[in-house]
């Protein structure tokens, strides 16, 4: 069975933010919610690298483990999704998430959080595939249409890879072998408890 993963090849990422706006475009994500973001390390210094990050759809996902209402579930493709009907906006998944993926719309009083929102790997939510309800709550369901997440599909330099973990790992490995350098599959050890040996 497939195991969908993301991999950002930092030696290709140029912080063009295509992944960020592609996500906004595909799912009509509102202002203030950033399902995906690009972080630049060592900004302005030699060795600077940018990495696009969203929910990594972890193996044994911490968000799912700590959720007080158990609103997360994992699909057959190992995509970690959640039900906004069940979410109570407690914020615990954000504390547990190693990647800062969960986002909360600001609603109501003080710091009160609305239903959590995060990257769905373009795989929607519990509602019927491609239904209007699913789109309104979670955005488009590309996976059900046989397409991969738009962020990776539109990546300007093919830095962000999405797809079956073994395949994208292989692509990355080949790249590193061919060019002779690679700063690592960022987040893989944390998310999937494995690294790509190259």
């Amino acid at each position: 069975m497939a195991r969908m993963k993301f991999l950002c090849d930092a030696d290709r990422c140029i912080e063009c933010n295509a992944c960020v706006t592609a996500c906004k475009n595909e799912h009509e994500v509102p202002w203030g919610i950033n399902r995906r973001r690009v972080v630049t390390l060592n900004d302005g210094k030699p060795g600077e690298r940018s990495i696009s990050m969203a929910c990594m759809h972890c193996t044994d996902a911490p968000c799912a483990a700590v959720c007080p209402v158990n609103c997360f579930y994992t699909t057959a493709d190992a995509v970690v999704l959640h039900s906004k009907d069940l979410c109570i906006g407690c914020g615990y998944c954000f504390y547990a998430c190693p990647f800062g993926a969960p986002q909360y719309p600001k609603v109501g009083n003080f710091g009160s959080r609305g239903k959590m929102d995060k990257c769905t790997y373009c795989a929607g939510g519990p509602e019927a595939d491609g239904s209007k309800e699913e789109y309104e709550k979670y955005g488009a369901n590309r996976l059900a249409e046989g397409k991969l997440p738009l962020c990776a599909e539109m990546c300007s330099t093919k830095s962000l890879l999405a797809g079956d973990g073994e395949i994208i790992a292989q692509i990355y490995k080949e790249r590193v072998m061919k060019r002779g350098y690679g700063s690592g599959a960022w987040g893989w050890k944390t998310a999937y408890r494995e690294t790509i040996e190259s």
Partner: protein, 335 residues
């Protein structure tokens, strides 16, 4: 052939290493740099900091944290450590109390009721107590729900019901925190006078509060046990309130580490607090005859006062005589 290839690889590797070594100490802004060779590496950053942070253009500073694997430690705490602490503290306390009740039973008034009463808590004090107590119970249940609801309650009532209940519990938890906090502050102010530890407490503690056997160590208005409860409420309440507000206004004052820390403090203090309060409730209700009246009607039997707060009774008697079974306004006692 093979060994030659290996040699070449080793040599290239050595050169690359050398390059890194050379590149590393070069001063920032130096002209001769190879940004490709000197790029940052994930594992190296994680080893150094256990957190990877950078720059993002969006104003949300949280998003600058690329990776924080300590989230996994927090998860371990939340899902395992906290449940053990909470379980042991609360179930342990219940167990102790059950055993105690079965062996000791209710602490009776040894000399029976005198029929004469004494004002122990006035209406204002009782209002503050019960406001705080009510809030506390709801906060405790809604709080415990977050930690224990998923394994205990969810399977019984199902996802939808549990989420619905948890959502309301969350609202209750957030909103009742305000009266609770006010209550804690008022408790701090109104009872601090009687709760400063003194020598009598040493004696009281030495004699184990008289729990075992039929001893009645002397005490002023608050004995050492009650003082302990007071300080647990004041300090514990202060801590849960403070950490709670950090959680309620997420990221206003701190980053992800601070949030995790606040949650740890909040939850650990809270479960211990709950355990302590269970004991308090026990003593105040089925644990001791005549105790509940203190917070119920606000008046206690003189004999109860003599047995449990002899020094306080002496004080009160010195000021004014006990009434004749008629309730007296709180102010009268002070006249």
């Amino acid at each position: 052939m093979v060994s030659f290839a290996r040699f070449v690889r080793a040599a290239v590797g050595a050169c690359a290493l050398l390059l890194l070594v050379v590149a590393a100490p070069a001063p920032v802004g130096a002209q001769q740099v190879n940004p490709t060779a000197s790029s940052v590496k994930e594992q190296q950053l994680l080893q150094e900091l256990n957190r990877i942070q950078g720059r993002v253009s969006i104003p949300d500073e949280r998003s600058g944290v690329l990776e924080q694997p300590q989230g996994r430690q927090w998860r371990e705490f939340h899902n395992v450590t906290l449940r053990w602490i909470g379980g042991i503290a609360i179930i342990g306390m219940l167990a102790v109390l059950v055993i105690f009740y079965l062996t000791r039973g209710m602490v009776r008034l040894e000399s029976g009721r005198s029929g004469r009463t004494l004002v122990r808590f006035n209406i204002y004090e009782r209002f503050v107590h019960w406001m705080t107590a009510t809030c506390f119970i709801i906060l405790a249940i809604s709080g415990l729900n977050i930690t224990f609801g998923r394994p205990l309650l969810l399977p019984l009532i199902g996802f939808e019901n549990f989420s619905e209940w948890s959502l309301w519990a969350k609202y209750a938890h957030n909103y009742l925190s305000f009266p609770f906090t006010i209550g804690v502050v008022l408790i701090l102010l109104m009872w601090i006078g009687g709760n400063i530890p003194n020598k009598v407490d040493v004696e009281w503690l030495k004699r184990g509060g008289g729990i075992v056997g039929h001893d009645h160590p002397p005490a002023y208005r608050f004995n050492a046990g009650q003082k302990a409860v007071y300080w647990i409420v004041v300090i514990g309440g202060g801590l849960v309130a403070a950490s709670g507000y950090v959680l309620m206004f997420p990221f206003y004052t701190t980053g992800i580490e601070g949030m995790q820390m606040a949650q740890i403090v909040h939850s650990v203090v809270a479960v211990l607090f709950v355990a302590a309060m269970i004991a308090h409730i026990y003593i105040g209700t089925i644990g001791m005859e005549g105790a509940f009246e203190a917070m119920g009607t606000g008046e206690v039997d003189v004999n109860w006062a003599r047995e449990h707060h002899s020094l306080w009774l002496d004080e009160q008697m010195a000021r004014t005589g006990p009434n004749d079974g008629r309730p007296q306004p709180a102010t009268a006692a002070a006249e």
